[in-house]
Symmetry: C2
Subunit: 354 residues, 2 copies
């Protein structure tokens, strides 16, 4: 295979030579974009948008068309799996995701529907095929799911949570029950990501938004182990493309070495961790993705340029860096700042790859 | 001085020999205690309680009386300083702290009242003298303040915040203005902690709840630098007791070495970081305080005992560990679990100090 014909993003994930650092942004298709808000309004609700392949395709492509980012990410939600398991996902206005039927007991866990991704989540695969057919070949499409731990927090709490009272209670009092729930979500996630890859996703990312709520011992046992399970499944069942897998634990700066040891291709890093230090710690095992403070986009053009440069220089010369924020883009951001960010990465990164 | 006559907690902070590991809990005087709820109701509002020396004294002593903890901590709030600066602190029911006059412009910063701790915050000193007069000599009293960065987040946002839009905008667009605000808060904090020490506080702690929202570079410049300033002030102006200073940045696991280098005596560690690893990183420069996951208290007695033991063993043999949670105790916790925690530390820690 002639690697130079592969898109920039995929080469960077494999730490193969690149001409410049590729860039995409978590939640790049989102509320900060007026064209997104228009489609969102038209759809009526978040789930109506996410479950409509034409509309999901439309919003996925919006930031690519506007900014020329180096990867597209499927517009969807990490809670499609529990929704397909029968929990009744809905979004309360201004309050985030909710489930009509939270999972608290052994009976709740036993009665969970085991979704078939191709059927129960067919709308996602349809969106992927549609997006893939409209994206040019230089722009890979990223599929994703939530980490089993993160998804389980919403399932057990019934929505967003501050202190994780119910799931921590389950984790500490009934660890075996906790594991039964997690393996169900993990198996569904394996099937789901596999189906996304078959439908056309060229890389997949696992979002572990709430892994950072765990102690080190609990993180290993209840979050990392299940991400490792999914990585192993994808690596064992990959198609001929050897689809790269990116793991991202928000607040996981203490655990970068362990995450890198799962067999994943890249580790997402939040902005509390310096990339130079992160790179030293993970060595050449994995690529790194991140890690601009999303708050930088509240600054002006000069600030955005300076801070992007700081992140690029912190990673330093050579391949293996995918530029991104350290977390999702905030809704109040001016889209012009994203244009500034992309311009800064395109301008300053070639010098790091000569 | 005969160190064996000093209280356990102070000896552990100085890494002097102890018979067992001392224990206290962040937010030990709080909503999980029915006797606290009674006084809180009687006072009418949080600030009415915090600003009444008799009532503040009463709730400070409640957890000491109930559990026999090894240190008391002044019942107060990290926002007393901006309140004394004229911002009008109040607590909206269920929404946390708010200021009637947030600080956004140069004029806002220039017009801030520079409080005299002894006068404008006299109610705090009065509470300290009262508590000290009622506590036995084995139970030291901890004074505290918020880190200038953390306090400034509330001042600029006007209350709690999710994305820190206003303060990040100030930090990135007008760093000099940001520094002017921070130095004002830092100077007021020096004076405030000094007055607390003179009134009878035997150790002081700086709570940097939101330092973890910053990138490494910003953390050094906008949070750590001002905590170092306060530590230096206290160390230069200490009375004959050489009052120990504890720094705690929530989400600061990446920065333990830097925090230990400020000249503080102890570093608070949240539960995402293993104490064994933390101890290796900071060496014998400082004591460590922490770091049980507050969610463990949602478990049963067996769980609490097992997890306390895990934290004790993780620090390992020798002095320099103050047992605590990795963050404040959650309101929904059964007080019996705190009794279990204290019992576990008393039972298992002596073996680590033989």
């Amino acid at each position: 295979m002639n690697t130079s014909s592969e898109p920039l993003f995929l080469r960077a994930l494999k730490r193969e030579p690149v001409e410049r650092t590729p860039v995409w942004l978590m939640r790049q298709a989102g509320r900060y974009l007026p064209e997104y808000m228009e489609v969102r309004k038209q759809a009526g609700s978040f789930m109506a948008l996410a479950s409509n392949p034409e509309l999901a395709c439309k919003v996925t492509l919006q930031p690519i068309e506007r900014f020329g980012l180096d990867a597209a990410i499927l517009f969807s939600d990490i809670l499609t799996i529990p929704d397909a398991m029968g929990l009744g996902l809905y979004f309360a206005e201004g309050e985030g995701p909710r489930f009509t039927k939270p999972v608290r007991t052994e009976a709740d866990i036993e009665s969970l529907h085991e979704p078939e991704a191709g059927k129960d989540l067919g709308y996602v695969m349809e969106a992927i095929r549609l997006i893939r057919s409209k994206l040019d070949s230089d722009t890979p499409l990223i599929g994703f799911c939530g980490s089993p731990w993160t998804v389980a927090t919403y399932m057990v709490e019934g929505g967003s949570s501050r202190n994780f009272e119910n799931i921590k209670s389950m984790l500490y009092r009934q660890p075996q029950l906790m594991h039964r729930l997690l393996i169900k979500v993990a198996n569904a996630s394996c099937d789901y990501l596999q189906a996304q890859i078959e439908a056309g996703a060229q890389a997949v990312m696992i979002f572990d938004t709430w892994g950072g709520s765990l102690s080190t011992a609990s993180y290993k046992e209840f979050s990392l182990a299940y991400m490792r399970h999914i990585v192993a499944h994808i690596k064992a069942h990959h198609n001929t493309r050897d689809t790269p897998v990116i793991l991202f634990t928000k607040g996981g700066a203490s655990w970068l070495e362990m995450i890198a040891d799962t067999g994943c291709d890249a580790v997402g890093v939040d902005w509390t961790c310096d990339l130079a230090h992160a790179r030293k710690r993970v060595g050449d095992r994995v690529a790194l993705q991140g890690n601009l403070d999303p708050g930088v986009l509240y600054g002006n053009s000069t600030v955005v340029e300076r801070e992007c440069r700081r992140v690029l220089d912190s990673f330093g010369p050579g391949s293996g860096h995918v530029f991104n924020l350290g977390h999702g883009i905030h809704p109040g951001v001016d889209p012009q700042r994203v244009a500034d960010l992309v311009a800064a990465v395109r301008q300053h990164s070639p010098a790091l790859h000569r």
